[in-house]
Structures are given as C-alpha cells and as structure tokens.
Symmetry: C2
Subunit: 184 residues, 2 copies
DNA sequence: GAGCTAAGTCTATTTGACAGACTTAGATGA
DNA sequence: TCATCTAAGTCTGTCAAATAGACTTAGCTC
C-alpha cells in the first residue's frame, strides 16, 4: 500500500492486505477454480471441464490452493476404481465468498448485456434476491467509499520522512476522489 | 458457469457473470491499479511507483481500463510543463468497491499475520469499523453461502440434454457443499 | 498381464511479464 | 531556433507462464 494511499497520513502502508490476498488468488484461473469449488465441483476432471483450464494450469492451481489452505484434499473411491482425491473448500476458502459474490454482482450489472444475469442469488428462506451492504460496527448503513475513512491499523508501518506529493486534491469535474485520500 | 454449478438444475449457465468480470479485472496488476485509483492516485508515475508494475504492463492496463470504461482520462497541466492525462475512476469503476473491500478484509483476516491489518476502513461519521454484510431484498440478514440459493436468472440458457453426473452430494466430514449445489 | 479410468506430467510453441534503455511531446528560456 | 526539462509512454531482448496435444501414472478388476 502506497503512501499516496493514505494521503497526508504520516504512515506508509506497503504491507497491503489487498496485495496479500492477490498473491494467493489474483488471477483468472484461480478464481474460476474457486467458483467451481463454491458450486460443489470437487474432482479434477469436472473442474477441468467446467473452467476450461489447461490441465497443467489446473493441477498447479489446485496444488497451490491446497498449500495455501483454501482447499483440502479428501480421498474418494468409485467402485471398481482406484483411490483418488477430491478438493474441498476449507473455512478459509469459504471466507472468500464475499469476493466471489461481489465479482458476480459487478458482472451482472455491467457485463451481462440485454440478457440480464444468468444466476440470481436468493435468500434460501424467503426467495428474495441477496445483496451486499456495508454497515459499521455501530449499526449504521454505509453507502459506499465516500462514507468510508481509511485509518492506519495495528499493522501500519511508519512512513519515510519525505511524504509523497499529494496529487489527489484537485477536485475535478467529478469532485474529490472516492475516499478523502484512499484505498478502499 | 458450468452445469455442475447449478447441481440438478435443468439449465446450463456458461455465460457466467464472474467470468465476465474476470475478463476485465481478473489479474494482479489490474487490481493494484484499481486499488491506487480508489486511493486517489491518478498519474502514471505515481501509479508506477505505488504498484511496482513494469511500465509496459502499467501502460497496457491503464489503456485497457479506459477502453473498458472503468477509468477515464482527464487532462492536466503543471505550470511550466506540457499537457498530460490523469486516470480517474468512472462510476462503473467505482462500483468495483465491494470487490476491493472484500479482498482487503480477507487479507486482513488470513494474511496479515501477528501485526494485524495495516488499514482499517472506518465509518466517516462515527468512526466505527466498516463491515460487509449480506441481506435479502426483504431485509433479512443472510449469514453466508449456506443461506443462499442460486437460481437461474433472465440470462440463463437451457442445458444440453445430458446432465452432468452429480458429484456434489457426498456429504463428507464437512457436510454438504457451501451451496446446495453452487456458485456463490 | 491386459484393460480401464481419472489425475496428473511432459514437450514444444506461443504469449505475456520483466529490466533496462530509449523515445516522445509539449513548455520554457536563451 | 535550439537546448533543456519532465513525465508518459514505447522498444528490445530475456525469462516465465500459458497453451495444445500427447503421454504417463496408479490402482482396480477380470
């Protein structure tokens, strides 16, 4: 996380959580594997068919996700066949759900064309569409980035003495940036 | 979106919104550019310094994001210098905010180590930490994937006659898959 | 041992990232 | 007019990863 990310904050945060997450999942094939895992697909061949990933890529991604703790292997054996492993989400893996939903919703809104969304996520108990919302710990609704203030957390690190020039203050035709100076 | 994604649903959804979103943003450098854009970073050199992206990669990503409508160019001119362009988020770009927050929160939880999160997103008006929640259109809280049912939406397409084998029903040591059969 | 099936692994080719160097496009001043 | 400057690219050769297609592996069954 850059200095500029925190505007005039006297801290530099380059150990960015976003970047850490991206180091694990920040590329297409991994997301598609996770998408399938959330859908209950567990076997290599099914993953391969569903994602279209080249075998070598899929093999590498699955191994990586197991290594990082997002998936785990579970042995299975079809009658008359050898023992094999399936891949299942761990709790850590399941906690990627908000990311997957957010990706889907953005695509629904901006990339589904005149057809509309192919899948609707509905509340199991009442059938109404599911939405994502921001709320603060005090219970207030938070509408979006403009109502959010990023502050240094416990993992923040001190900045170098020379702060970067602040080039975010030019309120142009669209007003100030989403945040009063930064990151999501 | 694969058949298996919808379990026993007689529909196949391969025009997946997630995949469409990933086609635009599904790789590390693009996410990092967006992270900076949300933080108010607008200029090439600042983006480059903040993300560490090789120039050629950055240039290509910026051009792509402008082309896709997530960023737009705004001319600026420092005194004594030539006219140049900055890059700013469009509304479409800003609507990626939930994805960025979700990426951050996952990283906060699972990848920030003993230091804890470097950045805390707080509610501007009261200072309490901001959280993401699921809620249905009827106003019910939805706790996570197990309370979500994916249904075909207007953009769903009919399946091929032969449904794929259902291999998600084996309730193993961790119970059924996150969804009763599917995608986020 | 032969045949089978699913999960990989291998190989040559193509594509994209990368580091470093170089170019471009206006503004300014002599 | 030309030299200088600055920021935003673009170029080039090298390395890494994706890709398509083929091949191998590991148990089970007969």
């Amino acid at each position: 996380m850059s200095e500029a990310t925190l505007g005039a904050m006297p801290f530099r945060v380059d150990n960015c959580s976003i970047e850490r997450t991206l180091a694990v999942v920040g590329e297409k094939w991994t997301f598609l594997v996770l998408r399938e895992a959330f859908g209950g697909v567990r076997r290599f061949a099914d993953m391969q068919a569903a994602t279209g990933a080249p075998r070598q890529v899929l093999s590498a991604r699955l191994a990586r996700l197991v290594d990082e703790g997002l998936l785990r292997k579970v042995p299975y054996r079809e009658p008359g066949q050898r023992r094999r492993d399936e891949y299942r989400l761990t709790e850590m893996g399941r906690d990627l759900y908000p990311i997957m939903v957010a990706l889907m919703h953005w695509g629904d809104r901006y990339r589904s064309g005149s057809d509309g969304p192919p899948v609707l996520l509905t509340h199991r108990d009442c059938g109404a569409p599911v939405e994502q919302h921001f709320r603060c710990a005090e219970g207030h609704e938070v509408a979006g980035p403009r109502e959010v203030t990023p502050l240094p957390g416990p993992g923040a690190r001190p900045a170098a003495p020379a702060a970067a020039p602040d080039r975010t203050t030019g309120a142009g035709p669209d007003g100030p940036p989403p945040h009063g100076g930064d990151t999501p």
